[in-house]
Symmetry: D3
Subunit: 253 residues, 6 copies
Amino acid sequence: MRVDGRVATELRQVTIETDYIKHPEGSVLISMGDTKVICAATVEDRVPPFLRGQGKGWITAEYSMLPRATEQRNIRESSKGKVSGRTMEIQRLIGRALRTIIDLDKIGEKTVWIDCDVIQADGGTRTAAITGAFVALTLAMEKALKAGKIKEWPINDYLAAVSVGVDSEKGELLDLCYLEDAAAEVDMNVVMTGQHQFVELQGTGEEATFSRAQLNALLDLAEGGIDSLISIQQKALGSIAERIQGKKEGAQA
Amino acid sequence: MRVDGRVATELRQVTIETDYIKHPEGSVLISMGDTKVICAATVEDRVPPFLRGQGKGWITAEYSMLPRATEQRNIRESSKGKVSGRTMEIQRLIGRALRTIIDLDKIGEKTVWIDCDVIQADGGTRTAAITGAFVALTLAMEKALKAGKIKEWPINDYLAAVSVGVDSEKGELLDLCYLEDAAAEVDMNVVMTGQHQFVELQGTGEEATFSRAQLNALLDLAEGGIDSLISIQQKALGSIAERIQGKKEGAQA
Amino acid sequence: MRVDGRVATELRQVTIETDYIKHPEGSVLISMGDTKVICAATVEDRVPPFLRGQGKGWITAEYSMLPRATEQRNIRESSKGKVSGRTMEIQRLIGRALRTIIDLDKIGEKTVWIDCDVIQADGGTRTAAITGAFVALTLAMEKALKAGKIKEWPINDYLAAVSVGVDSEKGELLDLCYLEDAAAEVDMNVVMTGQHQFVELQGTGEEATFSRAQLNALLDLAEGGIDSLISIQQKALGSIAERIQGKKEGAQA
Amino acid sequence: MRVDGRVATELRQVTIETDYIKHPEGSVLISMGDTKVICAATVEDRVPPFLRGQGKGWITAEYSMLPRATEQRNIRESSKGKVSGRTMEIQRLIGRALRTIIDLDKIGEKTVWIDCDVIQADGGTRTAAITGAFVALTLAMEKALKAGKIKEWPINDYLAAVSVGVDSEKGELLDLCYLEDAAAEVDMNVVMTGQHQFVELQGTGEEATFSRAQLNALLDLAEGGIDSLISIQQKALGSIAERIQGKKEGAQA
Amino acid sequence: MRVDGRVATELRQVTIETDYIKHPEGSVLISMGDTKVICAATVEDRVPPFLRGQGKGWITAEYSMLPRATEQRNIRESSKGKVSGRTMEIQRLIGRALRTIIDLDKIGEKTVWIDCDVIQADGGTRTAAITGAFVALTLAMEKALKAGKIKEWPINDYLAAVSVGVDSEKGELLDLCYLEDAAAEVDMNVVMTGQHQFVELQGTGEEATFSRAQLNALLDLAEGGIDSLISIQQKALGSIAERIQGKKEGAQA
Amino acid sequence: MRVDGRVATELRQVTIETDYIKHPEGSVLISMGDTKVICAATVEDRVPPFLRGQGKGWITAEYSMLPRATEQRNIRESSKGKVSGRTMEIQRLIGRALRTIIDLDKIGEKTVWIDCDVIQADGGTRTAAITGAFVALTLAMEKALKAGKIKEWPINDYLAAVSVGVDSEKGELLDLCYLEDAAAEVDMNVVMTGQHQFVELQGTGEEATFSRAQLNALLDLAEGGIDSLISIQQKALGSIAERIQGKKEGAQA
């Protein structure tokens, strides 16, 4: 039995509330247990300098935590005057992952800004951010398509992310809450498409290491979690989900 | 008739949801119309260097907006590497105002951090932040008193803030939404106690000026708004409100 | 009797020395008692990006103190690598105030930079800066008009600023020196035109509050001080003052 | 055949020159083909604040490139005034990896600084940095042990890192040079111990994805590369290698 | 004949006004022609970390220009968030030069901060700053000695600085104004003691070079200028000058 | 006898290894004793804003040290977020010196970036950087000429730099190593052309001063050192040296 009563293969309760903020083109509040992240997608009519004149778009992400999202108050990065290495790693990961399931040629010279702001943290904030950001991006693309700002549907597949880890006593666990994460020997984040293709795999021994056999057990757990998350994304998207379904017969069907 | 159907002396709908985030000692989500601010109070067991060894506490505030709180996306201050002049003005104002209604000697060598994070903006974010921060601070003090961290109740009076302004056609208005604020000739923020004492008064002609008669009309409007806001604070605080009532027979009673 | 022998309604000795530095289009050294500020106005042939192509100008201000303008040496903001919140508040205030009494359409796509550098501080530096900056701006506009860089006289009215405050023993006082300012319960800065219209009103209880009656007493004091300051500005401007007189029959006449 | 004539399972030529710089406690110049990195280990007699008083040590890494290490000149991070997200990711990775194979309790309250400076880059700089840094760290520990600064040998196992990737035509490849890396669909960095335990696994689809089968093929390639690198580390260390051998019968024996 | 009517060996008009600002322990306004610099000396009762516990003091200097000290407005270094290379060179030079003529053991663990703020610039600001700073430092030491803060007179000799340069038509010139400086092929700053000992010599070919013969001619010119400047310093110091005289029979006597 | 066995007029062993890094247009590793600097020249097809449209080029230099180039580890300037005053002085000096011996009109609107990275430091890093940078620049110009990127040979003369100093016991010394530099009373850097013309002369009394006679002795020493360095540059350049010989019959012939 885990610290919050779940079994090893069980996700925390996940909810995705769409159109959570009124101004962005797409937005959600995603909750995975006590982890809560506001994800907003903004469509801007220009691209970074390195892409100008190529007729294709870009997706970039920013990630932040409110100071009291965590047990101890964090100093704001704006007050410190610089963004931490952890924040940079996470926002680079989110942007990279989302760029994998979208055809950037189809959105033209536009940048989609993905803002992931953690308002309450209890482990797994980066994976919740990716899972929520996918929905916010899809909502923004639907709006852009309806408004004629893009001509063709650009999103090819689902995208979700989940953490898995190894506890020295309980073995491999899915979707670690903060207490589990702090105690884990191995921590792994898996980002996958609806087709069970890997988009990103980041496994780290925390002053420990892991074997090939443990890796395989972790990946099996992660695939199950990804399937559940994509089902929840589909429900949140309602009829918009069909745009993605039309292209792919999802592994989770 | 105003842009959102209100009369000149009418506040927007105000709600204050207490204990909105789980980690802080006190927190609220305050909504004034479409303006939504998360206010969190953190009690830290030390004071800034200039106060050490004096046996008294401090209150400091930070204010920020999510990038898509606004119609146009704002660049994060952490990305720019510095905090804007506007943000600094607002957070200095919030801290200064809260320090007026609390007896800092009674909290001992502690700092209360007030974090006001705007998740959706539609005018009046700084006044909503003050009104919400007062409730978050009160909740944190109640928790500290119950836990024995402070010995005596430190808050002397209510504190609320509201904006008023002058429209060239509609005259003096209470609680401006963003569209009204953008069009106003004069913009004034009033911070007041439950006893109708001024804590802070900031009036600005926006490429315009105002007369003494207009000032008086604006202050009358503001007093009415402050009374209504304090009633809402009292309801949100429930029985905790009596701690403040016990000291003062509030003007709004 | 006040700490420096003045009565409550009395300004310190004020002098305005015009053309104090040789390079700027307009410059003054203003002294209010021991507070001394160099104000310089620079006319630049372009506007910030948000104004380009609109045919109108802009006024922006910067404020700084020499490290030993004060009793204790201040660390330079250039050494700290960032501008303090206090500095930002003051320079935003100066710019906003000056923009109120000038017709920005009449100066075309130009920016006037106002630099206020405090070389000696004894309270009231921001109000001295505004009062001096008005003269420096007027001198620069006269020079621009004579040189044919602007076609029409753009300044509509006088502008001056003064501090007022409440001392717990001596009551309401005009033009606080540093010792008075440090002891005051209430501190208020009033920026007014020659027509006694308010441009900016900033009143702050310093861990104290103030009543409507005290507000009125403070505003009465401030009006008197503003009248005296405008007379001194007129003398400093000499014949240039008539350009402003021609438009307005000033309340101080 | 690969762009430089290698077969898919072949490393580039690897050399490790020990004691390359005279001042550091341990240093090497590692070359993997045209990628050249100076790795230096510095032992400092104190630990970061979060570890003080616990009797254990810390390892932290910094990574940088000379501006002309690359085909196009890079702007120095010191000139930009901030460290890029990529640099932060890499230096966090190097530090984390090295902390896995050392017993930090055995070095006492010391920090080992690992500086990895790329003087010429041709792909795989972060993996070369880890492989070289392991040797520099081992040299520094040998010196510290001989000098009596540490009492017991702290390094438990070998550590090396290698890149693997998927080319759309040539399939899975070991140790990508820059041209291969730029063309790869999937890019993976594997950090492993002498016992074939994973320390870190980072796989990224570059606007592409990868299957579980591809993952397995990549990991098989990486294991072979790690074995070869550890043999080269052993040769570079000479008799010092026996300290590590004595503890572990390495998988590469 | 030079641009301002001087002969080659002639200084501009130099004045030194002592006690120019009221707060610092020593201050002057030095004018060399149209170059005007406020120099202030602050005595602080502590030394930088590298000197703690050694019983000796330190002198450090900061240099800045008001934005409109120059023909074109300069952007403030506080707004840019960093100090330029030119500023750093100058302030390091001023500090280094002053440390040469003072016995730092005699001032105990104190730091003297020298602030040189250029309020009007017309060439030679760094040499004027040094010449003025010497007087401000001497005034501060006199005050410290009288107040018993230091036990023994610490200043051993006079210190002054002057620029010399080579004009392609007019040959070697003393004390270049801005127009001369901009046209000069060679620019040299000479810092010397009253004994004609060099403290600092910085000669630069501005896209040109200079011969040993030219160097000698420039140094002869500089010596004459230094003698005149020291006479002016002596007059400004009045009876305090005797403290320095008592130790040295100055070459300029 | 000096600390490393040299006589007063003797350089340390100097080697210049050309084409040390593969990517830059010109590069060397220069060693002067234990001081080792990588100098790289990059040709960029644009000039800074202040030179645009004038048909002439620019040379700019950057200087840095690896953290363990020195006995004690230095904190990276990228980690500190700013470049030190010392670094700025040195890189300004290198750029200024190189611009003296090149005809910038002949390279067209190009910037040559000179990167000097010290990988091991033992005194005299700035003079070694200049001497090495001259060779790297010459190699880059040869390559540009052969590639037709520039039409005419732009380098007019040799350029080398050396340190000289005064030791209280041993008198004037050439080419100080770190131990000598730390003990020296006077430290001077001399940058000269092949024609024995001064390009830059920077002499500093380190809490000491120096006489005109000492200056002359130091300059005599420096001239001898410069001649030797230019001979070594000629050998390193091989046949390319003739391009410079063709223009000047060097003093060292």
